[in-house]
């Protein structure tokens, strides 16, 4: 049971004059000792149990401390920043801050973070992060700007996840909030947009976080007085992308909705929250401990002289400003019992804002989906889908158990069952989310791709092709048919992952590429080509064919889908029979696309395509061979395809002769290299000067 003990005041003298209370309270390397930085010029080291200061340091008149002092746990030294840019490092023995180590930085510091087990970090106002050590090596180093103009850091925290340091900071710009998560083991900075949901206009007043294995749980206290939770993954699937994270209501009306100041929030443990602020518009400011699990108020304490809304929690002590004095309230929490938790239920005065625990009733939502009211039905199904989505998000947020993949498989099968019985039910987002867990395979949920094929949901099919390792060739081929057959218009509306397609496919139709003629020749003379004879009959059009190949024959979205096919695994024997069933004009189109990719590949030395995950040359060649094997008789009958085939033949031939030339040249180069090496080796003896430091 959570309990607040008797408070005591730390300072006999009021803290520095600033209206916003102290700048910060930070732990030092000794337990029970804390660094208190007031918003003026002073840093005081307190021993809390003795309630007395152990040391006090001030900056010169005219200077002002701009960032709370912290302790470097690795060296025991203290660090503070004054006048935004001036870093001071000192020891307990130092007396005068003016005489201690000083480094002037090139950018303004937002905060210095220091926690046990890792070196201190400096977060700059522009969002850049440096380790203290790296910064001290070159204090004047250039600090890059990470966040955009007018974006302001609102809050930040630094913590360890599995011995890896992780920094999170929240920024605000024109009422939009963004979370940045910086991981130091991988040096990845991920950016998230906090979606506020219906409470679009609310201002977030305070943040706090807790961390488990996979998620940073970001709690925010909004100006409507409610506490919201946002789950931010620590290991994002796609760290490069700016992702959106939704927040969900955690606690209703923790403080009065119109309280403008003196409002604060702190996560105490996984079940408990400390909230600072007036519970009712009329009441005095108050410190309340809430149990999130049971949605109950555990205990509260009035702060009649007002507070600043700042709250720190270290060990078992809560620090806050009460009136003009820094107050410490020891806090103890024993394991909650239901009876204890239910004991106090406050806010009965206001039935409208009663804290209603929102339990989720699966049965109810299932049934609501099955309701047969015609007009209501689609709306209900939508609601039901949305509901499943929310529940799924919560489920995925918890730790993974060993049977995680079977649970996911069962969930998918359950959802698919319902899809079958209820044609209008198609929880697309949930299914997408489930596929992205990376644990599904085709054999775990065979019906999934069938339904996606039925609904011509190309986005889902693309995702399946990317994620499933074991798709049968017949299904791959069915996907290919859909991808080739679907109209451009309907493709434009879909949201397809385009990472495998880079700008090469964006070439605007009709734009000419001048290098094309060079590519075809590429050190090889067309005139001498024997093939020219057989091409005589078509000689009127080879240039047209070339131009045709220079432009991507499909729109980028279709290219992305076809790339997914190219990436998928297959066995030739099983795939060939299915390929025969594809209409001839589609085969031609696909061949044109493959030929286009092949030409693109040949444009650079490494024979690769640009982009993040492009098809490889081998995949392209294999598919060309496969298509020709399966449909050769058909292809030679169609004039257009015939022309394509001819230019393909010529190009491959030119490539082969280039390769053989290159192999010949390589031998020559190697000899040159050898000669060069021998020349360098002349330097067999020298006398040099060495200075050891």
């Amino acid at each position: 049971m959570a309990a607040l003990e008797e408070e005591f005041t730390l300072t006999a003298v009021p803290l520095g004059s600033g209206p916003d209370g102290p700048l910060g309270v930070e732990p030092s390397d000794k337990t029970d000792q804390f660094l208190v930085t007031d918003s003026g010029r002073t840093v005081i080291l307190y021993k809390v149990s003795d309630q007395k200061p152990l040391g006090s340091w001030s900056v010169k008149q005219g200077q002002i401390i701009t960032c709370p002092a912290v302790c470097n746990f690795q060296t025991g030294e203290f660090i503070v920043v004054h006048d935004n840019k001036v870093l001071r490092i000192w020891n307990n023995e130092d007396v005068n801050l003016d005489k201690v180590f000083k480094a002037t930085l090139s950018a303004e510091v937002y905060r210095i973070h220091s926690i046990q087990g890792t070196e201190p970090l400096v977060l700059f106002k522009e969002g850049a992060v440096r380790s203290l050590e790296a910064l001290l090596e070159e204090p004047q180093q250039k600090i890059e700007t990470v966040i955009s103009d007018e974006e302001v850091i609102k809050w930040t925290k630094f913590f360890m996840v599995f011995r890896h340091p992780v920094l999170i900071f929240i920024t605000e710009k024109h009422g939009n909030y963004f979370a940045y998560v910086q991981k130091f083991n991988s040096r990845i900075l991920s950016k998230y947009t906090l979606v506020l949901g219906q409470e679009e206009n609310s201002v977030i007043q305070s943040f706090s976080t807790s961390v488990d294995r996979k998620f940073i749980s970001l709690m925010s206290l909004s100006s409507d007085g409610c506490v919201y939770e946002t789950l931010i993954p620590i290991h994002p699937s796609d760290p490069e992308k700016n992702q959106r994270v939704v927040r969900s209501l955690l606690l209703k009306s923790a403080v009065s909705g119109n309280a403008r100041s003196g409002v604060g929030l702190m996560v105490l443990d996984q079940d408990h929250l400390a909230v600072l602020g007036p519970p009712l518009p009329t009441s005095k400011e108050c410190l309340s401990i809430w149990n999130i699990k049971f949605q109950t108020l555990q205990t509260s304490k009035e702060l009649p002289q007002g507070t600043s809304g700042q709250l720190w929690y270290y060990g078992e002590n809560l620090f806050m400003l009460h009136g003009k004095f820094l107050t410490v309230i020891p806090y103890k929490c024993e394991v909650s019992s239901l009876a204890g938790a239910l004991g106090k239920l406050k806010h009965s005065q206001d039935p409208g804002t009663h804290a209603i625990p929102h339990f989720v009733n699966w049965e109810a939502s299932q049934e609501s989906g099955l309701g047969s009211q015609n007009s209501e039905q689609s709306k209900r199904i939508k609601e039901s889908e949305k509901h499943i989505e929310v529940e799924l998000r919560k489920f995925l947020a918890i730790k993974r158990t060993p049977d995680f993949h079977t649970i996911i498989g069962d969930t998918v099968i359950g959802l698919l069952e319902r899809c079958k019985t209820e044609p209008s039910f198609y929880p697309r987002n949930s299914l997408m989310q489930l596929i992205q867990t990376h644990v599904l395979s085709y054999s775990l949920c065979p019906g999934l791709m069938e339904i996606a094929l039925e609904k011509t949901d190309v986005q889902m099919l693309q995702l399946c092709l990317q994620q499933f390792p074991d798709i049968p060739e017949s299904v791959t081929c069915a996907c290919l048919k859909i991808f080739l057959g679907i109209g451009d218009d309907s493709l434009q509306e879909t949201d397809i992952n385009m990472e495998s397609v880079s700008d090469y496919a964006n070439t605007v139709q009709g734009e000419k590429m001048e290098e094309q003629a060079e590519i075809l020749q590429n050190g090889f003379n067309l005139e001498e080509d024997n093939c020219e004879n057989c091409a005589q009959q078509l000689s009127a059009k080879p240039q047209a064919a070339v131009e045709e190949a220079a432009l991507c024959p499909v729109i980028p979205k279709r290219a992305a889908l076809l790339n997914a096919i190219l990436h998928s695994a297959y066995s030739e024997t099983f795939l060939l029979p299915h390929l025969k069933g594809i209409p001839a004009q589609h085969i031609t189109l696909f061949l044109q696309y493959l030929y286009f990719l092949y030409l693109k590949c040949s444009e650079n030395v490494t024979m690769t395509l640009p982009g993040i995950h492009p098809p490889t040359l081998n995949q392209i060649m294999d598919w060309i061979c496969l298509l020709l094997d399966a449909n050769f008789t058909v292809v030679v009958m169609i004039p257009e395809a015939k022309r394509l085939l001819l230019s393909l033949y010529k190009f491959v031939k030119s490539q082969i002769s280039i390769c053989s030339e290159l192999n010949k040249i390589e031998v020559g180069f190697r000899e040159l290299q050898k000669l060069n090496q021998e020349k360098n080796n002349r330097e067999l003896y020298s006398i040099e000067v060495l200075e050891l430091f």
């Binding site: 480094a103 192999n663 003896y685 020298s686 040099e688 000067v689 060495l690 200075e691 430091f693």
Partner: protein, 717 residues
């Protein structure tokens, strides 16, 4: 000129400036690796090279090369194996089987197998029998007796040479790889029946019969002339795995003689195979320098049916991988490119520490260079000759990193060809530069060098005493009046050198009961103390004045890699293969205070993670607090007066201190001053107070002298 030099050198709070003679003309090329044999009991690895040298690596002691047997021109080793626990045998093209004495570090005996050149050898699973495969197609069985080996019988003679042999783990059957076919013998059978095999396999199902498995000569549709079976491995379920010159790894059923599975893995020969003891993984090496790992894995996740799958390819070699071995935790490979590569299997490594890193051993863990400081001479030791060079000089001065113009280039003074077919074991030039000594397995040579202006003349000192036959280590005293020779059998000879002659002063006999040879020697600059170390027991310190054992430094778990005695203090500095460095006061017979301090605090973790041993230690004549030491990749001066680094401090800072703040300076100044400019570093020594000599051997220069590797097509593959 001298004044200018003095002026140019500012005695900074650091280590000061040195002029470094950067020598890259030591044209040393290690021999290619021919065989490797892993011993599970002692966790040691035997490696034989094409020049007949055999080296023993202790895998438990940081992969230190703790012993070696020098080679012989006519003794090309083709096979190497451990038998009867930890006895080491080799066989080669001279038709002899050789057993090595791992204590005395010499050859115990050589026995002719009378079958022509021997191509293969395998010890039975119990270790009590040896099987050799000969040029004439015979397979001969030897019994390993406590003292020797004894011929037992011949198996049926095959048509052509036996290139590979493997025992069935039960010891009842043997697979032998020849040219174009593999034979399976029953060892126990008295009657050696043999079927005639005209074309396809025709089996006599009697257990005693030879099964013969014909290997397809075809290689990717092209018929090669012959298919050589380079390696076979017999598994306990009766499967025989063969690797051959057509690039195939094939699985045979020895009971029926049928081909079960075929992996075509290379466009060139697959030359070697080794199977793990659990028979769940094996490794093969190809002529393209690739090593493939095969593992026995379940067909589906929870079925008991398993199959061999090629799992990982490794490309750590540029040339033929002639030999592979499979320790419980690592794949070991070696070949023509002279590198020994130890690639730990991550799934078998329990603790993911630095031992789990890939090791590539190229250079011997002993010194091949000695130096006459006073005359600035360098003596280089090759397999069959010695080279003497005189360093050049310069009058210029400069700042850190400058290359100074030479006023005189280095001179090649002497090329001394060793007599006889044996390789040189060790060599040394005296500090005054007037004596050169070297030794082969059976003879000891001492030469007197006379210097007249720039000319030198060489005169051999004849009539060496009979006891001076073979030396493992040779050392001259600082004043060049005494010669110390560590012979095998553990004795140390002290010889006084006179003008052109010598006198035997004393022989320190080994401690009673031990026959361990001393491989490392160090003498104090005042000539009073001699320290000697073997591979396992502690370091013995002898008083040269009183000609008796003074003390023994307590034994340490890891072998000694380098020894030296400091001037004045007579502190003995010992480096071990686990990268620990101890300082032991000889007069006080105890570790020094500094040594205790550093043991208490521990070395920096990066220091302990270096993967080459310290091979040389020396001292600065004017700075008693300094210890100079080096391994193949760094040179370090330890300043005992400075604080020791802890794991948080930067051990190696390549950048010179530029206007850094005091805080940084204060934080980074520590006792270890490291330079990694010269590498691979074979030798580094202080010539005088401000001059160093560094002998480098760039890997590119070695590769340039190797035969060209198999050419792979780069384009259009």
């Amino acid at each position: 000129m001298l004044a200018a030099g003095e002026e140019g050198i500012v005695d900074s709070p650091g280590m000061g400036e040195f002029k470094v003679h950067r020598v890259r003309f030591f044209n040393y090329v290690p021999s290619g690796i021919r065989c490797v044999a892993y011993n599970d009991q002692s966790n040691r690895l035997a490696v034989s090279r094409t020049d007949g040298t055999v080296e023993i690596y202790n895998l438990s002691a940081n992969y230190f090369q703790e012993k070696f047997f020098s080679g012989h021109e006519s003794r090309a080793t083709e096979a190497l194996c451990w038998a009867k626990g930890q006895r080491l045998f080799s066989a080669g093209l001279n038709g002899e089987i050789i057993e090595y004495d791992l204590q005395a570090l010499n050859i115990k005996y050589a026995m002719d197998a009378f079958g022509g050149p021997i191509w293969s050898m395998a010890a039975s699973p119990s270790g009590s029998q040896l099987l050799v495969g000969c040029e004439d197609g015979s397979v001969k069985l030897f019994q390993v007796t406590p003292e020797k080996i004894q011929f037992e019988r011949n198996f049926d003679r095959q048509k052509s040479r036996i290139l590979s042999l493997s025992w069935h783990p039960s010891g009842t059957h043997v697979a032998a790889g020849s040219i174009d076919y593999i034979s399976v013998f029953d060892v126990k059978s008295e009657n050696w029946l043999m079927d005639s095999f005209g074309d396809e396999t025709d089996f006599n199902l009697l257990g005693s019969a030879i099964h013969k498995m014909l290997v397809d000569r075809q290689y990717m549709g092209v018929s090669k002339r012959k298919c050589i079976i380079w390696g076979v491995a017999f598994l306990s379920d009766g499967t025989v795995i063969s690797v051959d010159s057509a690039g195939k790894v094939q699985f045979w059923d020895s009971a029926t003689g049928t081909l079960v599975k075929n992996h075509l893995i290379a466009n060139a020969d697959v030359q070697s195979i080794a199977v793990s003891d659990q028979e769940d993984s094996f490794v093969v090496g190809t002529a393209e320098g690739t090593v493939f790992h095969f593992q026995l894995v379940s067909v589906t996740s929870n079925s008991s049916e398993k199959q061999w799958v090629r799992t990982k390819p490794f490309q750590h070699h540029t040339h033929d991988v002639r030999a592979v071995a499979h320790s419980p935790t690592a794949l070991i490979s070696g070949g023509t490119d002279t590198h020994l590569v130890i690639r730990p299997l991550m799934e078998k490594v329990e603790v993911k520490n630095y031992d789990a890193a890939l090791r590539k051993i190229t250079f011997p863990h002993r010194r091949l260079v000695s130096c006459a400081k006073k005359r600035q001479l360098l003596l280089f030791q090759f397999a069959h000759h010695l080279e003497l060079w005189r360093l050049g000089s310069t009058v210029a001065t400069g700042k850190n990193g400058d290359t100074l113009p030479l006023s005189k280039d280095a001179d090649h003074l002497l090329h001394l060809k060793a007599k006889g077919p044996e390789n040189i074991i060790c060599s040394c030039i005296s500090p005054c530069g007037s004596w050169i000594a070297y030794s082969t397995t059976s003879r000891f040579f001492l030469y007197r060098l006379s210097h007249e202006h720039d000319n030198i003349s060489l005169q051999r000192v004849s009539k060496m005493p009979a006891f001076l036959r073979s030396a493992l280590q040779i050392l001259f005293s600082e004043d060049s009046t005494k010669l110390f020779v560590a012979s095998n059998q553990g004795s140390l000879h002290v010889i006084r050198l006179l003008e052109g002659s010598f006198k035997h002063l004393h022989t320190f006999q080994p401690q009673s009961g031990t026959v361990e040879s001393m491989c490392l020697l160090a003498v104090s600059p005042d000539g009073n103390w001699l320290a000697a170390s073997g591979t396992s027991a502690g370091v013995h310190v002898y008083s040269v004045k009183h000609l008796k054992l003074h003390c023994t430094v307590p034994a340490y778990n890891f072998p000694v890699t380098a020894l030296a005695i400091a001037p004045n203090t007579n502190n003995l500095v010992i480096a071990h293969s686990d990268q620990q460095v101890f300082e032991y006061s000889i007069p006080d017979k105890q570790y020094t205070e500094w040594s205790r301090t550093i043991q208490k605090q521990g070395f920096h973790h990066l220091w302990l993670q270096r993967d080459t041993p310290i091979t040389h230690i020396s001292f600065h004549p004017k700075r008693p607090m300094h210890i100079l030491l080096h391994d193949a990749y760094m040179f370090c001066i330890i300043d005992k007066s400075l604080p020791l680094p802890n794991d948080k401090t930067l051990l190696y800072n390549p950048l010179p201190p530029t206007n850094e703040s005091d805080v940084i300076r204060r934080r980074t100044a520590h006792a270890f001053k490291i330079s990694k400019i010269y590498k691979p570093l074979l030798f580094m020594e202080l010539l005088d107070e401000r001059t160093l000599v560094a002998v480098e051997r760039p890997l590119d220069d070695i590769i340039a002298q190797l035969p060209p590797p198999i050419k792979k097509k780069k384009f259009g593959t």
